[in-house]
Symmetry: D2
Subunit: 337 residues, 4 copies
């Protein structure tokens, strides 16, 4: 494996195992050499993905292996800062799932460690690698749709995660809405000026934190005066529903639709289609592409898209949403800086 990028995966839950499989099977110039997880049995399963892969007991061991070039961090959200700092100190290039931190102090600490170590950091905003989103961005940047004026976006999971998830995921805004916050920046190329958020808990047991919010509307004023509204839910019932439309002064682009299946059944009870059941079904191409991009950047020593800066900016919006929700009023982005 001498000329391939040697990758270790820290945290092999559902998405971590997906990323590990991508490294092992979909990125010829990478090798999946090590995996680790708090849950030993889970990591041992992931270690079978490739004959080159070993299970190691804990991330310190993994990070101390000089043969490893880069890590994928898919541990619980509340560990991301610690993991990024440790990986940076160990000189590993880093792909970390969103959010990179639960608060701005943590995010800044993580970015500082990355900067000091001179390693690369890519954050798991996979939509930036999805063909439809990239086509939408290109159309908007072409100027053919004029100045950005109005954005409507949504991300809704089919059903909520188990209760244990909420202990470590951070606020609903930082955990889920953050995808839309990032796409808003990605598609418009604009920063946020003001945020207003309302939210509620309908589908999960409320544990008294912002984590168990499960339904939210974030209204955003962008720096150019354009308006955006983002709705999120942890329980759509009808599938993984991710859509966005961006209207400019001359027209709009829309990405996503309720019905994704090419297979339809028509009887006397109506015309029925399947929807997308999971994040993987909708974004497989993008998830694979983001890992391929990360490996390319490491191999070629180039800067990744979906940077630490992007991670920080999206988290800032989440923090503004948290404050707005808590205080019951809009909060200006200038309050943060």
């Amino acid at each position: 494996v001498t000329d391939r990028v040697r990758v270790g995966v820290i945290g092999t839950g559902s998405l971590g195992t997906r990323h590990a499989r991508t490294v092992a099977e979909r990125v010829p110039k990478a090798a999946l050499v090590a995996v680790t997880d708090e849950r030993r049995d889970v990591a041992e399963v992931a270690a079978t993905l490739s004959p080159e892969t070993v299970h190691v007991p804990g991330h310190p061991t993994l990070l101390s292996d000089p043969a490893i070039d880069a890590v994928v961090i898919t541990t619980p959200n509340d560990t991301h800062v610690e993991m990024i700092c440790a990986a940076a100190r160990a000189g590993k290039h880093i792909f970390c799932e969103k959010p990179i931190a639960l608060d701005l102090a943590g995010a800044n600490a993580a970015l500082a460690a990355v900067s000091e170590a001179g390693v690369k950091l890519q954050v798991g905003f996979q939509r930036r690698f999805d063909g439809a989103y990239r086509a939408a961005r290109d159309k908007l940047r072409s100027g053919k749709l004029g100045e950005i004026e109005l954005v409507v976006a949504t991300t809704r999971d089919p059903s909520p995660p188990p209760a244990v998830y909420f202990e470590r995921c951070g606020s609903f805004f930082a955990d889920t809405s953050i995808h839309d916050y990032d796409v808003l920046r990605f598609l418009t190329g604009l920063e946020v000026a003001e945020v207003h958020a309302v939210a509620a808990t309908f589908a999960v047991e409320d544990i008294g934190t912002l984590a168990t919010l499960d339904t939210a509307v974030t209204t955003i004023r962008l720096e150019n005066g354009a308006l955006a509204t983002i709705t999120n839910s942890r329980r759509s019932n009808y599938g993984y529903d991710v859509r966005i439309e961006v209207a400019g002064s001359k027209g709009k682009v829309a990405v996503g639709e309720h019905q994704q299946s090419r297979f339809e059944t028509l009887t006397d009870r109506g015309a029925t289609r399947d929807f997308v059941g999971s994040y993987w079904d909708l974004f497989e191409q993008a998830y694979v592409a983001e890992i391929q991009h990360f490996v390319d950047c490491v191999a070629n020593d180039t800067e990744p898209e979906a940077t630490g800066h992007d991670a920080l900016r999206a988290l800032e919006i989440a923090v503004l949403a948290e404050r707005s929700y808590t205080e019951g009023r809009p909060v200006a982005a200038s309050k943060l800086r």
Copy 2:
């Protein structure tokens, strides 16, 4: 009602009553002055559509009324020739439902009577008045899609009519497929060179005539060498399904889709839409427009679209399909002339 076109409706079944209502309520320059039907009770109901309308006992009485300018004929198919001839002799302008006859001899007799009397004849090919079909025709005629090459069309009823209907409707080709045959000519502007038809009876009791065929495929070679295939069914289950696509050398147009409803329900069982339940739901605009057009032509002494010539041409295709089905081989259009 002196300056309005005075219309009588002969045959007030489902579609006849629709047309009568259109005359009474949607055509200000027309008056519905008389209705008649073999079934007296049915006609009496239709006579309540407007205070100006009277029920008369039988079409001879209706036709002998000098105050009537024009008639709408929606009697059973096997009476159309007789009705057209009688109406023409009485000097009435004629709107007649398709087919104008069950065979070519009848059609020619009807056209001769119309010609001799100098009255107008419009046939009930309502799709020619539908906005989407007209847009498709205009696009094709613009030349932007190049030369016509391939046509795929379908008409499927949700469920078959009652058994009594088959005694008088003529062949399935003349009764149902004829709509597609006419639209084929309307959209392409081309005549037919050869016809091949296969058919079967699945949904209704076979009475040993071509009337109880209920599933058919007609393959047509047009005069320019382009190919067309038309499928028909008397029982789709899932709604009234009418679609056509016409491909040219530079692109294609398509009219129609399975799902017509703007209302959608999404649950964990899928995304479900309603479809169009009946001919009226799909073509209301066109049915109203064709009657308005007919009245306009009578009032302004202009020639109607959807002429007797169109009626004859479409019936010729149906007759070719009947022969092809019966003989089990393609039949050239030149055999008819």
Copy 3:
């Protein structure tokens, strides 16, 4: 016309003429007997819609005619209170376009006049009469989709009205968003608890009032805790875009889609459909049905749907949005009562 409902139309601009035509041509039990408009020439054109119709010089003359049973008010928004009060005092039943007033004092005055006179009042919330909206309401009321949790709605006009319109239309919230506010109440059966609105002016010249806002997001908390977000624009470019989705705990309904046409063109440049160009194209069925309903209510002495109470409630939401926009913070509905 003795047994028909005799209707006068006050204000024969674009929509007023549509309503007048509906009365004249689509409601057999009504007669269009009089029209009036500030612009004499406009009213004279409308007076040609039916031989029974006369033009009268000004609404006082029209209202003083004892032969008129009911009026349709489609004058500029800032005259609605005056018109309703005058019509009520004259004992006429009233169909009035939305909004019934530009402020709550006006609305209350109008309702008081109606109540005192014992006449009927229906407000022009035509979406309540649209088949898709009614199907959505029925589905939501059936309980099959569970408790209401999240609503996303939009209304966007293709292009802004002329500058003169803004002098009399009231705020963008009262003029345009009010349709969504009403549909929110209609579909959910819930009242509003809190409103937050942001807005901007992109497409029209700002005259320093809330009238020339042309892009807005209204975020609403409903009385049961459910959340809603409504986006509005006076310039979509791509057509008249009206959509809503209402998500419950078990699934959702959606009404509307970008592409309404059944006609599609496919070339090497993509697959292209038309969209709906105007309010009338999208809601013709509903506009006709609401007038038919109004006439039925007058004829049968029953209470109309889309009542004065509904008009007041929707205006209250608009007033809350105005305050929120002006004050830059959410406003509780309890502040109004």
Copy 4:
């Protein structure tokens, strides 16, 4: 690579290189060990797909390598029989692109060689491995849609291949329509009773063989009396258009639609979507799955789906279509046996 299935690819044109890449990168239990092609430079490029891959000069050399377990044959259609026979004699398991032969004698010879050698043969009917087609098959087999009655299918390439392709591809029916013939059998589980075909040449230069037909309609009567019509074109302009609908006595399934993109642009010129540009864009999942399936069958010594029998049956339908086209009349399947 001792425990992996060692695969050689014979013919590394567009699709052959795709398959080679799939073996190298998407099938962990397979190794791409050798490639060959008449065009040495083309094969040398493919040999770079994996460090384990070598280029060998000609298929005899490749087949004589005892370290190779299985081959993928993607050479021109007119060589398939020779390649299958040689591979079988060499004891290699075989994945061969459709059609396995250009005539029935060839197909029977190929199957006999395979049978005698006791090797596995899978044919490249990739749609059998597409999720939407499998869902459609399962729905039809469930009986919920009743007895099969009517099938409408199409396959249209965006643009024709270069002229040289026609020298070796066999008839348009055997080269293109055969995909639809196979899917017809796959979805319905029924055999063909009678075939009628019409065809034309519009888009390519006619070289006087059945190869340069480029537009065709095949009408088929199935053994249960059901009817099918299949349209094919070598030049849609608007993308790779593959659709099928199968109607039963209780309802229908449909797979495919014109517009596949999740990305849409809406301006004042309409709502525009991209379509699928190539076979790979539409069927990537299926192409990968068929190769994975083949490797699994070799590794586990199980029988592949998409068998030599299926290849023969589909070719029989193509031969019936050729005869029908040539003779200008329907041909019964019984004529072949």
